[in-house]
Amino acid sequence: MLKMTHLSKVYRTEVVETYALRDFNIDVKEGEFVAVTGPSGSGKTTFLTIAGLLETFTGGTYHLDNLDVSNLDDNARSKIRNEKIGFIFQAFNLIPDLNVFDNVEVPLRYRGMKAPERKERIMGALERVGLASRAKHYPAELSGGQQQRVAIARALAGSPRLLLADEPTGNLDTQMARGVMELLEEIHRDGATIVMVTHDPELAARAQRNVHIIDGQVVDLAEDPRFHTAYAAAAGQVRG
């Protein structure tokens, strides 16, 4: 479903080159639920934005759903984002001017879908996250957990092949986080491929597979001492 080989991402300024990802390799199979963990600044979010075609990469190859996306232009990348990828962000990223219904509708609008089909999909997605009755509410009228559910409904409405979640529970309290996590698990059980970036070892443990990133590279837990240090620090932060 998602395969990156020897992928690198370099941020260049006039005086310095910074590798956000270096010789990065990952292969996520269709239907997998993968948690990506690692300390702050390790490259998790950069990986996710490249995976979601929100950012280009410097070297290597990236195949998404068996399509080499290395050299696609902006329009093609937008089309793939719209049709194949669903995003769930830590900050929810709902549009405050739009009510719940209209927020969920956004990706469907860009797909050129007819109004009746849009409505059917939106209401279906909202029912699935338990917010059909809040369709006319605005984000500011919802709790954090509800807002994240709306964001999930927005990601689901387009029936994406891949769901990318960036710290989906990072802004939620424990109870709300549990609810969101259960929802993601349910979506996964229904066959979706999910890649979730998280700091939270507890959440990571609920995924099928964990991928660990340190200094822009995927590392083997058992063999890399850097991970143990970083992991312990991250766990300490979560507990604190």
Binding site: L54, K79, N82, N93, D97, V106, Y110
Partner: protein, 439 residues
């Protein structure tokens, strides 16, 4: 998607009513100022006869020498009687006409009514065909009438209404300056502005259309008074009789020739030079031939028909409009960039850059449309004050019509959309990855 973008645009405008009101007012005041001054400029600078302005030529012949030229080397702007008659008789152009201003008293049909003064021209038959004068009843008089010094007249439909209640008066008599003329035609409303054919007399923006036309030769016979400009050059002269005045070098007869092609014009100019040379040989002119042939647009430019205050006020108001647009650019930029987060989300969810452009340009168009509608109201209100800026004759010409209303709206929308290009371009450059990471 058009309706979707429009809906988003309107929603966004409602979200920041103060910012929106500032932008709408900036556009409205700018466009209204421009439209008010343009409403005057378009009248005074328009081509009054675009379909044949390049075929109608004002004729000038220097009849008094370089010492009286004003401006230097320029012949008088009208002809004297001798030259005008000579050129008419030479008949070297397919059509030619001469004219002078008259203001005869008109005796009403009802003997109990007081006489009125009707302004018009003593001219020749070709005047009507050359200047495309439309007729309601009858037709122009003929060249034979010119030659016969006929007592015939053409009156305007406005005068026809006053004298005959608008009925077909062809064949009836009208008494002008105590002489009777048979009416051969009644014109439809005809009043091209600027009145290019009589710019010599400063009649470019005279408010009322000409009401009466009589045969030039007959008018001379009867010594029908001239109400236009008479320029004899040099020191003031005193004439013992009309006859003496007629044969002095006084410019008072505008002369026009219809010359359909450039070759015709060249040929006619050669004729004019030859005519002036002949006058020089005859001892009448003591200077080299100095003639001019200017078509309508060249003639209006030479006469500086467009009032300078009209041009200046248009430039000033356009400058004001540009300042308003620059302010609008700043406000739009602030408004759009505050929504970087929304742009990032939309891009992440599949919006292409083109779709971001479309959404924000549509929003700008909505601002422009609102500014245009308010601008329309301000334009209508501002038209009442045109008289404060321009001469009454010019101010009177400014009017509101459908084209002005449509232009106001189109200018408001288009200029706002153009002004929005830079803010929209900046909005479309928002990198979704950075925007979402920063959240």
């Amino acid at each position: 998607m058009f309706a979707y973008y429009l809906q988003l645009g309107l929603r966004s405008l409602k979200r920041n009513p103060v910012l929106t009101a500032l932008m709408v007012m900036a556009i409205a005041f700018g466009v209204a100022a421009s439209m008010i001054t343009w409403s005057v400029f378009r009248v005074v600078s328009g081509n009054p006869i675009p379909w044949k302005s390049s075929q109608l030529y004002n004729v000038q012949v220097d009849d008094r020498g370089p010492q009286y030229d004003d401006p230097p080397n320029e012949p008088p702007e009208a002809l004297n009687y001798t030259d005008a008659v000579a050129l008419m008789q030479a008949h070297k152009a397919p059509h030619q006409t001469l004219l002078y201003d008259i203001g005869p008293s008109v005796l009403p049909q009802n003997p109990n009514d007081l006489p009125i003064t009707a302004y018009g021209y003593a001219t020749s038959a070709d005047f009507f065909t050359m200047f495309d004068v439309p007729f309601q009843y009858g037709s122009p008089w003929t060249n034979a009438d010119d030659d016969a010094h006929a007592s015939v007249a053409v009156i305007s439909n406005e005068l026809n209404k006053r004298l005959f209640g608008g009925a077909n008066s062809v064949g009836r008599d009208v008494t002008l300056a105590m002489h009777t003329y048979r009416i051969v035609g009644v014109t439809n409303h005809w009043d091209p502005k600027p009145r290019y054919y009589d710019a010599y007399d400063g009649m470019e923006f005279y408010p009322d259309p000409p009401q009466v036309f009589i045969v030039f030769n007959r008018a001379i016979d009867l010594r029908v008074g001239m109400t236009g400009r008479n320029n004899c050059g040099g020191p003031p002269m005193h004439f013992s009789s009309d006859e003496e005045w007629l044969h002095r070098e006084c410019a008072w007869i505008p002369f026009w020739a219809a010359l359909p092609t450039q070759a015709d014009a060249q040929q006619y100019k050669t004729f004019l030079v030859a005519y002036a040379a002949e006058q020089q040989r005859a001892g009448r002119f003591h200077w080299a031939p100095n003639v001019r042939l200017r078509n309508v647009t060249e003639w209006m430019a030479y006469k500086k028909v467009v009032p300078s205050e009209s041009r200046i006020s248009l430039f000033v108001s356009i400058g004001f409009f540009i300042i308003c647009l620059v302010n609008t650019i700043g406000l739009l930029l602030a408004k759009f960039m505050r929504r970087s987060s929304e742009i990032g989300v939309r891009r992440a969810l599949g919006a292409t850059r083109r779709e971001v452009y479309a959404q924000f340009l549509m929003e700008a168009a909505a601002v422009g449309l609102a500014g245009g509608v308010l601008g329309l109201l301000l334009t209508v209100a501002g038209m009442q004050g045109v008289g404060l800026l321009f001469e009454p004759d010019v101010a009177r010409l400014a009017h509101i019509d459908v084209s002005l209303l449509v232009t106001t709206l189109v200018v408001a929308v288009l200029t706002t959309v153009v002004a929005a290009f830079y803010p929209t371009w900046r909005a479309a450059q928002v990198q979704p990855a950075w925007q979402l990471k920063s959240n």
